[in-house]
Symmetry: C2
Subunit: 224 residues, 2 copies
Amino acid sequence: MPQPSAPRKAPGRPARISREEIIDTARRIVAEGGVKGLTMRRLAAEVGSTPMAIYHHVRDKEELLVLLLDDYAARTLRRSRLPADSRERVVAAAGAVHDALAACPWIVEVLTADDLMSTSALWFVEQIVDGLVECGLPLDRAVHGYRAIWYYTAGEIVVRATAARRRADDDRATYREHVFADLDPAELPRLAQASERWAALTAEDTYEDGLRALVDGLLAGRRG
Amino acid sequence: MPQPSAPRKAPGRPARISREEIIDTARRIVAEGGVKGLTMRRLAAEVGSTPMAIYHHVRDKEELLVLLLDDYAARTLRRSRLPADSRERVVAAAGAVHDALAACPWIVEVLTADDLMSTSALWFVEQIVDGLVECGLPLDRAVHGYRAIWYYTAGEIVVRATAARRRADDDRATYREHVFADLDPAELPRLAQASERWAALTAEDTYEDGLRALVDGLLAGRRG
DNA sequence: GTACTTTTTCTTACACGTACGGAAATCTGT
DNA sequence: ACAGATTTCCGTACGTGTAAGAAAAAGTAC
């Protein structure tokens, strides 16, 4: 792996391709043909090299995708004006991250990352943690609260994106409907009651509602 | 795809392998060698057939994994005694599902499923929705509440599992530490303040805390 | 029995990610 | 100029998921 800050002139064979060039080309390929069109061979061809040359700048394809997501986040997550009220600031910051990521369709393959990704997202993390602290949470609890918000956000995006992908692929979606159509009202009364509306209810975008509920619950802070 | 309920005797060449046999064998392979050891070729060999024969019982590998997860859920999710108190019942039901899934290490490859999977999980969904209704939520809100709980739960599992996998793989974990070590306290004061404890805080298991906060927030129900 | 239909199985082939090892291109020291 | 050292690049090879279509094995109709 090449160190980012080579102090002087480096010995060894000079590099003909750079990580930046790789990422730029990969971004273009994804923009044109989706993440499915991004193959190491294609990428190598477009960059004027060979597949195995890329592996000296990138550990594997997963790292390349993470790098791509970082790149995407860095250029779409612009710090916006957030509300002055602390609680609203938490909601708005989380919502901004959510919206940016949700607009990125190939995200699922990557979004299983631990923390939030690129340094450009850290500012939003700061806003969330700080907002929670200003609302009276101790720092530890605020960090845990941020984690909970991130779990909720990542889960929402991944679940919805996968559902959309499956729906586009084929008819697996109809399977759920079958399950819900044949519910025994004696055993699962609530689900039977909601069965007809289940698909519609599930399709609704309730991210912000759930987020507000989570934040409210975090700030109400029962327990010692 | 063979229809599950062939009414009489079927014409055509008789099947030598069944979906059940495939899933059983796949489960054994995963139990022995992890999900990484499960390849279509290996599976075909162990089932005494050829790779392409399997594709007549299973759409693709992803569906096979979903089937495996369903199978796993069906045999580990046993209906247990849940608390009588509605709110506690919601927490306990969600916790039971969470614990069962979190114990399944290969889950990440699959858990991006839309709803909860097998019919054996529906009972838990019922408990959650019913508990929320009994706490006073209208049915629509209860279903949305269940969705929020599922987002949070799935997100927690996926994020943690991926983090664990990355940590096992290599040294990418140290990258985050570098980022947090070089924070500018002027720009990101809270993160800088928490930077040293960040890894420890992140490692803590706060699933239930977040879940309770979410449930509390859902039940407090501000907004109209 | 022979022809046709239907269902399952198998053969072949392709593009993929990437491990391995060696070749090429540069710098440093003599 | 020459000999390492070091870094980057690349040719080859393996195992993967699976698309396409041929082949096999059963039933039915005549």
